[in-house]
Symmetry: C2
Subunit: 246 residues, 2 copies
DNA sequence: AAGCCGCAATTAACTCATACAAATCGGTAG
DNA sequence: CTACCGATTTGTATGAGTTAATTGCGGCTT
């Protein structure tokens, strides 16, 4: 009814850049779920109704639901409908989920958890990387550090270089599943620098600890690398912690 | 053409139990990709053609592709088609992906990687659990251990209890992202026992190390828990390693 | 003459609408 | 208390029309 007379939709900014409609809907719903606007256990409106509300076809809506379902956010069965899954079912390590979580202001609990994870994973990864890194890995790490030093963490390129540095270390650890944690680590790294910029007018210079870590990996000394990375994360945590738990 | 004269499909066991068609197709393709039957960079046949080959509608096929895409296995764009993503894009920590990987004989490299991850994550998780566990957590761990002792790892219930024990520890660590690693840990645990059963006619008794770990968590001693879990995983690794790297 | 840029045609995925099938829950009758 | 039956919701199928990216052609620039 009344489809020609105008669309009654668009309270969500769907269309949007590059992304296809199913992707946009998935993102919008994902963000809403992670923000708590749909609590675990809640039943979503029926396909037909909800798709119409969003102003998209049932096809596109269903594909969006498949995406969310694949990430463990929702489960749908005939007659029962589609309901938001329990939190323990959510795949919190999925890159999209993390991105959606950080779309709005993420919960302090999540940031704390990610830091804890980082403190567990990165030192071990650094130790492995010290043993297994190739010459190319070292070159990429060195380049990333140079970029970081040149542009600083106040710039986009500088932050990207920081991400790259940590990412190359994970790659150099030569462990597929471990590398899949990169998005989680990246999220923690990002928010470290964001909080740092917020907190201090004069943020601590990150280069010394990064260089020290780099040197241990060049030297191929696993235990030194583990210690250096532990110290690096500890410092980052010290910068961040007072701001999330004041 | 010839749709009425019979279906030219079914070289894959699609239909199958409980699962919907899109789920079955996703699983079949996922397994094929993880088994290397579709290498990264390969372009899949077009929607119409491939869906017809599989004997399903384009709708079901597309929803399957959305699932795979959500897990990072494939990427699809207009004109280019759908292609298998690079390995580093795969979300190796996704429960389904791991399940699919272990559908066929998994690669030794993956098992080794998962063990490495387990050795990194579980001791830290045990330490956190020792600090944060509730009375209910302890009760569940204790019950799981009892079940494990009663039925042994040769039985399905016994193995399930083992899984539960490790899983409760992850839950007791009170860290969402960490808990999302449970499927990865579970995969490693499973294959430990599988290899153990294969290797020795008289497998090592797993109860002493498990009990020791449990006691440290009851005592609330993080460092003791870390050490106990490290020892537990080390023993499991010792049982497994000679069989995957002979 | 060689190379670069922009335009159009092609091709694939994407979206939509509709019809029908299957599954599941609740109530009702036996 | 059990078994069936109907209503409701997701699941599957199909065909038509849309959008986006790549390819190659043709004209322009160097």
């Amino acid at each position: 009814m009344g489809r020609d007379s105008g669309r009654e939709d668009i309270n969500l900014p769907l269309a949007s850049a590059g992304r296809r409609i199913h992707g946009s809907v998935a993102r919008a719903l994902g963000v809403a779920i992670l923000a708590g606007r749909h609590a675990p256990g809640d039943v979503l409106p029926g396909e037909i109704e909800f798709a119409e509300q969003l102003g998209v076809s049932r096809t596109a809506y269903r594909e969006a639901i498949r995406i969310l379902s694949a990430k463990g956010l929702v489960e749908s069965r005939p007659k029962t409908g589609t309901r938001v899954s329990a939190r323990k079912r959510w795949n919190l390590l999925d890159p999209d989920i993390l991105a959606w979580a950080f779309e709005g202001e993420p919960s302090e609990a999540l940031i704390r958890d990610l830091f804890e994870l980082r403190m567990i994973v990165e030192p071990a990864a650094a130790a492995l990387a010290a043993e297994r890194r190739s010459i190319q890995d070292l070159a990429r790490m060195g380049h990333a550090l140079d970029e970081m030093a040149r542009h600083g963490l106040a710039t986009e390129v500088g932050r990207a270089a920081d991400q790259t540095f940590h990412n190359v270390i994970l790659e150099a650890a030569r462990n597929g599943p471990l590398l899949s944690l990169s998005s989680s680590i990246a999220a923690a790294v990002t928010w470290t620098t964001i909080f740092k910029q917020r907190g201090h007018a004069q943020p601590r210079d990150p280069m010394p600890d990064h260089r020290a870590l780099y040197d241990t990996i060049v030297a191929g000394d696993p235990e030194a690398a583990r210690a250096a990375m532990t110290e690096l994360v500890r410092l980052a945590l010290a910068d961040t912690e007072p701001l999330i738990a004041p």
